[in-house]
Amino acid sequence: MNNPFSKLSMNKKLALIAFILGLVAVFAGNPYRGNSVTIDTKDLALIVDKTVDHVSPEELADWIIQGKVDFKLLDLRAEKEFNEYHIPVAELVPLAELNEHPLLRNEKVVLYSEGGIHSAQAWMLLRAKGYKAVYMLFGGLEEWTDKILFPKIPQNATQEQLATFKKMKEVSKFFGGSPQTDTGKQEVASTKPMPKLEMPSGTSAPTAGKKKKKEGC
């Protein structure tokens, strides 16, 4: 029995194929993924185990000083807190809005919040969505304040410690902080004023060179 399909002309064959594909499309469903994700839990656990899930405040400070533009720094707190102080070059993306925030998949993303909880949650969220280069700021803003803005050196420091501290002093001043000498007295955190929100000199705004790539025609 001759195959009726092969009797059709080429054009009619193509039309039939197109018609069938179109018809199936009616039932095939929604092409958008929406908010569902697949998580490889073993993979994630491995990443945490190898501690490649975070960056230290020192590393971040270094990147900012060097004027690197290959990463995005996201501040997950509320607007009010952001306005009081935020790490230079950070963008405000409250945790609730993170899901909707557009992020390029080939960009490094560093997350920070006050301590570590929100940034950990955000890290989980982005990882689940498949972003590969996501990192938390180790210790969050607290650690940043402690280590970078107001680094302490004990009164009886060794030569080695003094040498390291010298560099920390420079870094701290760069960000408008003030290095301290640890007198052992318990200092109330609120007595230390946070640096003014000026961009440290020498850091160009990340917008230059990071212009949104045109994709129109």
């Binding site: 080429m10 054009n11 193509l14 230059a208 060179g209 212009k211 045109k214 994709e215 129109g216 025609c217």
Partner: protein
């Protein structure tokens, strides 16, 4: 007409079945979406060209102009290192290859019998000017908006497509002497 299969065909070959060309084109477009997440385009490359040209001659003017500035924004590298510019270069090459394979490369002017060469060239220039202007207004041309946007059901693209066909049919009568 000789029907021996060994006969060498002289002269230009006839064009392909339009549906096959269309499928070929569609697959290229699909590939672009799969690899880059974006479609094709053409007018954008020319915009970059114009903006770069203006910027070379009068850089201050170019920077202060919102339109040119958009195509020059990245000062860290040459604005000509643009996706569309490279794509359009490819279009020239691809068109040439296809034409060469089919023996269709020839220095000529495509026109109807009732118009002179200079008349045709005059209209080609005018038509190109309108097209360039219109393409910028519409943020794209037939390649970028109609084909690319059409494939992803973009509202603006479909409206654009209808307008293009509508506009063309509207005035076709008045320019028939150029073609027929």
């Amino acid at each position: 007409m000789s029907s021996t299969s060994t006969e060498i065909q002289h002269g230009p070959k006839p064009y392909w079945n339009p549906y096959l060309s269309g499928i070929g084109l569609g697959l290229v477009l699909l590939l672009s979406y799969i690899i880059m997440g974006r479609g094709l385009g053409a007018s954008g490359a020319f915009s970059t060209l114009v903006a770069t040209g203006v910027s070379t001659i009068a850089p201050e003017h170019a920077k202060s102009n919102e339109f040119y500035n958009e195509y020059l924004s990245d000062t860290t590298k040459s604005p000509l290192k643009d996706w569309l510019v490279f794509e359009v270069l490819g279009v020239f090459v691809g068109g040439f290859i296809s034409g060469a394979l089919a023996g269709r490369i020839k220095k000529t002017v495509e026109k109807g019998p009732r118009i002179s060469v200079s008349g045709r060239l005059f209209f080609a220039f005018i038509g190109g000017t309108m097209m360039g202007f219109g393409a910028k207004l519409a943020r794209g041309c037939t390649s970028g908006q109609a084909l690319t946007g059409g494939a992803v059901l973009n509202v603006g693209s479909w409206a654009f497509m209808l307008a293009v066909f509508g506009g063309a049919y509207m005035i076709a009568y008045f320019f028939r002497r150029q073609w027929k």
